[in-house]
Symmetry: C2
Subunit: 253 residues, 2 copies
């Protein structure tokens, strides 16, 4: 059994990548994966990530307007006509409990859509880093997907096609945890680079996030408060998994 | 004057990137940029990097067969009908002095072709790392290209669209040198990630290169000896620059 842990630092690396047989964690710390996790923890039944505003409106129509909370951003701000933006702080039980989230963002949901061919797809961020490490440390040894090899790929959403230091650090911290728990795992060049960067950078903080391209853009539009929430490490036990088109907390570690 | 140092960890990040006004260093440690540097230092007049075998044959025809040395690889091996492969050890004065190199490789020359819109284009590798740092430390302060901003972009060729740890380490070591020499330079997320990884990984060695995806592929086809040459740090004073379609040593530091 070959166990491989891989990191894609940029969404462009997904092109031509065969995801069948792979389990994938998408990371968009600031903010899509952090926010979808917040929405599910606030009681949303499931969360759909779609690429465009049109797709979001179509999906709301087919699910039924009363059940859906439309959320997401363009340029960091709530989309006109949408119920919520992309700030995790907006997702409280009053707004989303029992509802189905339909979300579109600039970077995160696009990367999520590109990964739908994977054997399994999860949402990752700083908040559920330790929970993900535990979930996959066990599973990697048992053989993900039941095949002869066991491959976990961490796909960073980045920022407009470019590497995002927030996501790269998060991926590196996940690799660090997995490499410690499963020392026989083979790390790809991308995984080694992310882990090395994480070892040097250390733990996340809101101040650190504010210096990254994604964090800086948020601060510029007055959403600095989100960064405190996004920077909290290992505070959630939830590992949202894609099932039947939507992410849910069916797998709570 | 804003001074910015940027790293693209993967070639896909070049898509949609506006290179006008930017100075670009392409890094393909194993082996295109190392090999082209070797060829120029062995006395080749200039070196053309082209994307395909057909382009290489066309260019040889238009330059004239007697003046050209065709070189490059597919699958790491010399292309049928070509004079040389892509091993830097093949490029001695006997083979290339006074000649024009026309080269095509799997990753490096493709990335070079995509960067031709830059205001200036150079070849980077471990061997000329310090020479590049010196050349750009001066120039960044003076304003590259004479505009109001000064931007140096280090583009890693990677391996088949993916991040290559060899190139990422080299980019990080260039950033480390520049950040020390020009502390006011603003580092992009990509530059910070590469620098952090380089600080953790340390100096290159043939043994380190043999553990990367690119190095491993070379070892598999019996070309391990190339890695010693590729891993040597700061041993060259040459900074090959693109002029009139070909790289030459017109700029020797």
């Amino acid at each position: 059994m070959t166990i491989c842990v891989d990191v894609l630092a940029t969404p462009g690396e997904l092109e031509g990548e065969d995801l069948s047989g792979a389990f994938v964690v998408v990371v968009d710390v600031v903010r899509a994966t952090t926010t979808l996790l917040a929405g599910l923890e606030a009681g949303a039944r499931r969360a759909h990530a779609v690429e465009s505003v049109e797709d979001a409106l179509d999906l709301r129509r087919s699910i039924g307007e009363d059940d859906v909370v439309l959320c997401g951003e363009r340029g960091g701000r709530r989309i006109e006509g949408f119920d919520l933006g992309n700030s995790p702080l907006e997702f409280d039980p009053e707004s989303v409990a029992g509802k189905i989230l339909v979300c579109t963002t600039t970077n995160g949901t696009r990367t999520l859509s590109r990964c739908e061919g994977a054997d399994g797809l999860w949402l990752g961020c700083f908040r559920n880093r330790a929970a993900l490490v535990e979930r996959f440390a066990k599973a990697l040894r048992g053989g993900l997907g039941g095949g002869p090899s066991s491959r976990l790929l961490i796909a960073c959403a980045g920022k407009e096609g470019r590497l995002g230091l927030d996501d790269h650090l998060c991926a590196g911290l996940i690799v660090e945890g997995l490499a410690a728990a499963v020392p026989e795992a083979r790390l790809s060049d991308g995984a080694r680079s992310a882990r090395a960067a994480a070892k040097e950078i250390g733990m996340p903080s809101a101040a650190f996030l504010a210096t990254t391209a994604a964090g800086e853009a948020l601060v510029e539009i007055g959403l600095k408060a989100d960064l405190e929430y996004c920077a909290e490490l290992d505070v959630s036990r939830s590992v949202p998994r894609l099932e039947a088109g939507g992410f849910s907390l069916s797998e709570r570690t």
